[in-house]
Assembly symmetry: C2
Homo-oligomer: 366 residues x 2
């Protein structure tokens, strides 16, 4: 959908590419105390299972660096070290085996110190993300642009990228994050028009799951539809697995990536012929969540005859209820009518059959 | 943000206007059996408390009409009767006191029957929503356009609106709903370019809450940012209160409406200085949810010194933690430093003070 994606340079993060025609990558961040090596490794693995392709760890102190070095041999996940304030931690992250580091020029203002980080990254062939947040734009730029706004964020990114280029380093990813939807869109559009580095997208401090799902979708949607954005991270106050879930929902709904089955289900109303359709949908979703992620099928569960037959017909597998029966559709054709009490069982049987047969389509790149 | 909204005609639904410069209205739909008068009335009231401004009821049979007539005197909420298949139910809905009716020309194909509905609506001065769903586009148009796609939906709407205009009726709202994000955007953009009736937006069969929040935001965001959309309804398989919550989140995040306090909170990571920030955020949110909806304040809860001070400074009230203390900001200035163990108590105290003082800003129309 929409125009061709913006063509960016490509950077390599562990075994994965970002930008340059690669699919939009799903990132996550651990929320454990990084010094707790086992807990952090466990969360990295859980996030990988949930669908995270790149995983970031906060490295606030030397003990966290030591923990990263200890867990590094135990995972092939592309790991990003997130560093603030102290440039020595960024150099240490590279030594500990980070596949990318994220620094925030808003809190490492000294060019001599930044240069040490850049030289260390250059030596190891590891990319750097210049991560600008509206909450930590350098004060000089905040004053120049009249606030920590979109133009101030873009100026901070361009300033740092230009410095890095002068030092012969261009293995960069850039992010401009704000907690405002409008500012996120404006800043990233301005950035995409000025630089051709891959862009990491996210809304910062977006709040609890449902609120973040709304704000992140509103901000990232128009950008991704325009071809802007090479990696995404959804910020949620709560379970990091939900961050990955929302990221995939966004990419799937925009047709940019495929991953696992999709459920289409009606909101129910007085017309619904099932005594508890939400519970039925939850059970069907639970079964589908166990399917292989390569099974990109759509299953529709519809409670009445208004839009039920239409939606069920458009899905790979669908069920539409009427007063007297459940009608089961497969690839657009009715294949069975069963009593409503047997609807769930019949649908599950068809799901099993479809999952056995359905070949996995290739993942869509942008 | 964005361009001026599209100027539409205005229709009156009970005591509320839709279109013609009115704020974007939040709709909801009851999920009770409409025949159960008390349960339906209770749900109407609960939805009003949650923030629904217009409430739709499915009217699948004469018993539901009788129930609508019984509950009508007990609520001033603008009520919409949702009718399919049988035009006599639409006429009956008008007689029972509906402030608007929604019909689907995909399942009332006979013009003579449609005309009876239009004449009854004209006589009572009640508007009609022409509600097209991709799942129930008239078959002739599906064939003509090669599928139940955006162009087929627009053609169905234009065809019906033209017919109604020929009969001297133009108190119309139009909706084109699909379960696809891309199709929803395309169809409504085409529609907005062709007709100047108010548009009701929604993604149909969007699934459970988090999935629907993503799909609805992705589809409605670009339209609302462009000024397209006069009312919204979010379809969620589950609690109807969540539909209203997501609708308001969307409108607030786009700056189109204001309603109640907004929480900005960080996702937490290894840097977080609070032992359980998500639980703290939940308690703060619970308190703020009890505030009057006119209290449009923003409260930031941030776990560390990276973006914490910046986000806290931008909020009306904010708390940013450091290793040794919680720093409390009010309207951009630090007003207190307290031990982290007292952070919650201190923040709640400031919230109470702010809620007592803060004057309610006027609701922003588009």
């Amino acid at each position: 959908m929409g125009p061709a994606p913006r063509r960016t340079r490509r950077v390599q993060v562990g075994h994965l590419g970002i930008g340059g025609g690669e699919p939009v990558r799903v990132q996550a961040m651990t929320k454990t105390d990084t010094r707790d090596t086992q807990a952090t490794l466990d969360q990295i693995r859980a996030l990988e299972v949930a669908g995270a392709e790149i995983i970031r760890l906060a490295l606030p102190d030397p003990e966290s660096l030591a923990s990263l070095a200890r867990l590094r041999p135990h995972t092939t996940a592309p790991l990003v070290g997130d560093v603030h304030f102290d440039h020595r931690l960024a150099v240490g992250a590279l030594e500990a085996g980070a596949d990318k580091i994220r620094i925030n020029p808003g809190n490492i203002p000294d060019p001599a110190r930044l240069r040490q980080v850049v030289e260390a990254a250059k030596q190891r062939g590891v990319p750097i993300r210049i991560g600008i947040n509206s909450g930590s734009v350098p004060m000089a730029l905040v004053r120049e642009y009249g606030g920590p706004n979109a133009r101030a964020m873009v100026a901070a990114a361009v300033q740092t990228a230009t410095l890095f280029e002068e030092w012969g380093f261009s293995s960069l990813v850039i992010s401009l994050k704000s907690s405002s939807v409008a500012e996120t869109i404006e800043a990233n559009r301005l950035l995409a028009a000025q630089l051709d580095y891959p862009i990491h997208l996210g809304v910062t401090a977006a709040g609890p799951a449902l609120q973040s799902a709304v704000r992140s979708s509103l901000a990232l949607g128009p950008l991704l539809m325009q071809g802007i954005g090479d990696t995404v991270r959804i910020s949620i106050t709560g379970d990091p697995g939900r961050e990955v879930e929302v990221a995939w929902e966004i990419l799937r709904a925009l047709g940019l990536r495929q991953r696992g089955p999709i459920v289409v289900s009606c909101p129910t109303c007085a017309r619904c012929h099932h005594p508890d359709l939400p519970a039925l949908v939850e059970r069907i979703s639970t079964r589908l969540a166990q399917a292989d992620v390569s099974a990109s099928i759509t299953v529709a569960v519809m409670g009445c005859e208004v839009n039920g037959p239409g939606e069920a017909r458009e899905a790979d597998l669908g069920i539409a209820l009427s007063k007297t029966a459940a009608h089961i559709f497969r690839q657009g054709r009715v294949i069975a009518h069963v009593p409503i009490a047997q609807a769930e069982q019949a649908l599950l049987k068809q799901i099993e059959a479809l999952l056995r047969e359905k070949p996995a389509p290739p993942d869509k790149g942008p």
